[in-house]
């Protein structure tokens, strides 16, 4: 057996988060490796051929593959090695070093070591069973991402006439895409009383194509033996429970699901890293370091972002901080950020490391409900350190607050707290 190679930083995932993390870590002087389970870099961007990516990061509207290409080029220019089609089987921490067991075609099962890890595993789609859809199990039920792969990568249509359940962004994008490619989209049904996707997608993907959006409706039953033949749609009440007597049957041959994304954190869980029940991603400090020293999280593995630009941003921060950690770790002093579930879907990061050199923190937050004229305030004791007025705040849109921590003295008795008030 040859000697096990040790890197400063190993990044898991070569999607937009992982590429950015690898790039930033290398720029900061680390010896970096990016590991990717698929055969090409770019993550889900490879199949997102619509535009709108990169407005913040590159000040340009790019398609998904174009955006990915930019980062792949940047990573290649720094000669950062990437191991493709390589799958992580397990990770162990031994004396400050992470030992990874991996598998691929060329090396078989092999080991690598790293001083710091960046988890950039992205997220997966919730399935029909995870939202408890019932009825039969014919062919023709796909998550929006899978349908997108069929259409954009394989050039195949998954259905002729479909309904879409859930108004998440990929669902909306697929409503337009399927229409353009020759399928009929009969409607988008959303159990919530407000859309889940971005307002711009509601306009550009549904309204422009006369695709109806039915709020407070859900699929209660799937009908069909070989292929989907019809679905039963019901109205739902405020707690999203179907109202009996409102059932109607819609004939169709496909169901596309866009019912939410879940960060993929099986690796983090195997390391006993604590997850936030709200984000389903790891609990992190302002440097995106998780509850395990030396393990960083970014992108959609940390929390599901609305824009890829923010995914890259988080990757760059995690990469930079992982690189710093690899060469010079310090004892953290974690103070939690107080928030509440009543007003916020989630707040990231969940901790501030007061002993970190990094005194600029970005706090990402999402409102639980659509609200008008609210003020989001971050305070430390009585001291208000940030406030922002929102004429309207919506769950699909992630908001961020930039804080300068250098003049704030945070400690156990004086924690940061984020609150939402009227005004």
């Amino acid at each position: 057996m040859s000697e096990i190679k040790t890197y400063d930083v190993i990044v898991l995932g070569a999607g937009p988060a992982g590429l950015a993390a690898g790039y930033a870590a290398k720029q900061a002087g680390a010896d970096v490796l990016i590991v990717e389970r698929e055969d090409r870099a770019g993550g889900i961007l490879k199949q997102c051929i619509h535009d709108g990516f990169g407005i913040i990061r590159f000040k340009q509207k790019l398609t998904g593959p174009e955006y990915a290409e930019r980062y792949i080029k940047m990573v290649n220019e720094l000669s950062i090695p990437m191991l493709m089609s390589t799958f992580v089987l397990g990770i162990q921490k031994n004396n400050e070093l992470f030992e990874l067991q991996l598998v691929n075609k060329k090396n078989g099962v092999f080991a690598l070591r790293a001083r710091a890890l960046v988890l950039a595993n992205g997220c997966r789609e919730r399935t029909s069973k995870q939202v408890f859809i019932h009825g039969s199990r014919p062919a023709g039920i796909y998550t929006a991402g899978t349908a997108q792969y069929f259409v954009n990568i394989m050039g195949m249509l998954p259905c002729k006439e479909c309904v879409i359940l859930g108004s998440g962004d990929i669902g909306l994008i697929m409503a337009r895409r399927l229409t353009l490619e020759g399928s009929k989209v009969l409607g988008v049904y959303e159990a919530k009383s407000t859309p889940s996707g971005l307002a711009r997608n509601i306009v550009q993907c549904l309204e422009d194509y006369n695709i109806p959006l039915y709020l407070s409706h859900t699929i209660t039953r799937i009908i069909g033996s070989g292929r989907v033949e019809a679905v039963e749609i019901s109205k739902v009440d405020e707690s999203m429970k179907p109202i009996s007597g409102t059932e109607q049957v819609v004939k169709c041959d496909g169901v596309i699901l866009s019912v939410g994304l879940v960060p993929e954190n099986e690796i983090a869980e195997s390391l006993d890293i604590k997850l936030d029940p709200n984000t389903k991603g790891p609990l992190v400090d302002q440097n995106f370091m998780t509850t395990m020293e030396g393990v960083f999280s970014c992108g959609n593995a940390l929390h599901v972002n609305d824009l890829v630009d923010y995914v890259s941003e988080s990757g760059e921060l995690a990469g930079l901080q992982a690189s710093r950690y690899a060469r010079n770790s310090h004892n953290r002093n974690l103070i939690e950020i107080k928030s509440n579930n009543r007003d916020f879907l989630y707040v990231v990061p969940q901790y501030i490391d007061t002993s970190s050199d990094n005194k600029s923190a970005v706090i990402y937050y999402r409102s639980r409900d659509v609200k008008q004229n609210v003020k989001v305030i971050i305070r430390c004791g009585y001291n208000i350190v940030y406030q922002n007025k929102h004429s309207v705040i919506r769950p699909p849109e992630m908001e961020k607050a930039e804080l300068d921590l250098s003049n704030i003295s945070i400690n156990q008795d004086c924690k940061l707290e984020i609150i939402m008030t009227e005004g």
């Binding site: 799958f87 997966r124 029909s128 019932h134 039969s136 991402g145 490619e181 033996s225």
Partner: protein
């Protein structure tokens, strides 16, 4: 009309429906008439059962209830036209396949026909994968006999067929003190049935064995012989071993009728031609009564009893070491099954099945009410389980007769027909023993026609598709060196490699459906439910089996995954031309 018949009829009319008429046919009781509901149909059947007749033939119909036709292959051809075989096995579930394998020991020709695109498409892939210890069946029943015998045979069978099995034992828990008084009764039953290894556990012992069980549990009974395995992997393994030893298997083949001369079946009509068998074995599951009817030997009726099942994420697998059931008065006495919590051989947690009568033999739809009830009932016993752990759920249908026992016998009226019918739980546990008994019966009948001998070359050993994720790194590397595709992970949730999926596609009984691949190697069975790997599996089927993407199906028979090309793609092709 006999006295007994009159009595039963009067009882049925008084208590169930006055439109029921009874008559005797051979030594069975036949119920006829039109009633109001399906519950009435089954209630009448149950009432008439075990009253001195061989079987209940329940011909009651429900006003306005339409029962769909049997799902059939969509084509006909002449592949099997005129084919002569010694034995024709009808049904490619665990029973049919295990019979075919045992018969392949002999120098006789064996053909198994299955109406679906794959084996194990019905009850054999829709159960909890449990090899029961044998406490539930009534002492003296066929169920009790074959369950105990089958359970014992499994250690050898699983090894020969290379099907992973774990004898994890099962724990029946209870939460009230009175169950202790039932234990002596259970002990007598267990001893009568011949269960070797079971005992009462105190609360502390139960808790030591299953640390996550609810604090309300006050004790349990441990059955050490209980095992778990993958029922569909086992079915496929039996079929492959049968094929290796010369048996033939014809999928997409449905039996449509039979021709008889005097009492004997002379030929069996299928969508693929007329077959001329010496002996016919009825292992047709929920349709075994219909097959019997074609042979004019319908002395029993199947009433499809449905059950729904939940499957939970592997992450929770380690919260359980074996199988947990809960004891209540109903399942001490009755035949209804409450289901349990099972740690499957693949380390998922399986919950269920529940059990209820309904008229449809192939309706595998699930319903909110049943699934919610399963969660409510069972998550109480293992409170660490949460609805968010559920990755999928499904339904299965038990082929129950009104006598609630297996029918394993040579027909009394059709000399060349043998029944392996009415097989419901514990059918999987009993299968190896049932197969041996059917083998014995078949040889007995067949030897009247010809001299039969054991094959010199019979090989009981079958090798399965390697499961790389279970191997040590060294072992795994050996495989990857030989076939680099074993090092490419396609299904990320279950860690299944490209090599394993190709093995499934090219297995002895080739498999080109998405569900078939799932059953063989688990690609797509994990928490993302194929969201990521499905398109890659489609591409592999396309490349390895040479089937166009548009023709690939989920489970055969018009369950095509895709409906056509995109506009962009068809325009691009035009331009290329």
């Amino acid at each position: 009309m006999s006295k007994q018949l009159k009595k039963i009829e009067a009882e049925l009319r008084k208590n169930i429906s006055n439109s029921i008429e009874c008559r005797e046919w051979r030594n069975s009781i036949v119920l006829e008439g039109k009633v109001e509901s399906w519950d009435t149909v089954t209630a009448a059947g149950k009432k008439a059962a075990n009253r001195g007749y061989k079987g209940v033939v329940n011909k009651l119909t429900v006003k306005g209830l339409e029962i769909p036709q049997i799902n059939s292959p969509s084509f006909t051809d002449t592949t099997l036209q005129g084919k002569k075989v010694d034995v024709l096995v009808i049904g490619g579930g665990i029973i049919g396949c295990s019979i075919a394998r045992e018969l392949s020991k002999w120098d006789i020709s064996v053909l198994l026909v299955e109406k679906e695109e794959d084996l194990a498409m019905h009850a054999s892939s829709r159960n909890d994968g449990m090899i029961h210890p044998g406490i539930e069946p009534k002492p003296g029943s066929k169920k009790a006999y074959f369950n105990i015998k089958g359970n014992e045979m499994y250690t050898k069978i699983a090894q020969e067929l290379d099907v992973p099995m774990r004898r994890s034992g099962s724990l029946v828990v209870y939460d009230s003190y009175w169950v202790k008084f039932i234990y002596p009764y259970l002990k007598i039953r267990g001893n009568k049935n011949g269960i070797k290894d079971f005992r009462l556990l105190s609360r502390a012992e139960a808790k030591a064995r299953e640390q996550w069980i609810s604090d309300s549990v006050s004790g349990g009974i441990l059955f050490n012989t209980t095992a778990v395995l993958s029922p569909y992997k086992l079915t496929i393994a039996y079929a492959e071993n049968a094929m290796m030893n010369g048996a033939e298997i014809s999928l997409n083949t449905i039996v449509l009728g039979m021709k008889k001369h005097k009492n004997d079946i002379t030929s069996v009509l299928t969508n693929r031609g007329e077959i001329f068998p010496r002996i016919v074995i009825n292992a047709a599951g929920v349709y075994s009564d219909k097959i019997a009817e074609m042979a004019e030997d319908n002395f029993f009726t199947i009433h499809p009893r449905k059950g729904q099942v939940l499957l939970l994420d592997k992450k929770k697998g380690s919260m359980l070491t074996s199988v947990i059931g809960k004891l209540s008065i109903t399942n001490v006495k009755g035949t209804t099954k409450g289901g349990g919590i099972v740690r499957t051989i693949e380390d998922n947690i399986l919950v269920g099945p529940d059990s209820y009568e309904q008229p449809y033999r192939e309706d595998y739809s699930t319903s909110r009410e049943n699934i919610e009830n399963l969660m409510k009932k069972h998550f109480e016993i293992l409170p660490i389980l949460k609805p968010s752990d559920v990755i999928t759920y499904f339904a299965g249908i038990r082929a129950a007769t009104y006598e609630e026992d297996f029918i394993i016998e040579a027909s009394e009226y059709v000399p060349n027909l043998i029944h392996a019918a009415g097989i419901q739980s514990p059918g999987l546990a009993s299968a190896p023993a049932i197969a041996e008994e059917i083998e014995r019966l078949t040889c007995k009948v067949l030897s009247q026609y010809k001299q039969i001998n054991k094959k010199q070359s019979w090989n009981p050993i079958r090798k399965g598709i390697p499961e790389l994720h279970k191997m040590t790194p060294e072992e795994r590397n050996k495989y990857i060196k030989q076939r680099p595709d074993y090092g490419v992970i396609v299904c990320r949730c279950e860690e299944i490699s490209k090599g394993e999926i190709i093995d499934a596609i090219k297995s002895p009984i080739p498999c080109v459906t998405i569900d078939g691949i799932k059953r063989r190697v688990r690609a797509g069975l994990g928490r993302c439910q194929g969201g990521f790997c499905l398109p890659n599996v489609v591409k592999l089927i396309q490349n390895e089996a040479g089937i166009k993407a548009i023709e690939i199906t989920k489970k055969g028979n018009a369950s095509n995954l895709l409906t056509g090309e995109t506009k962009t793609d068809s325009i691009a092709k035009e331009v290329k031309k």
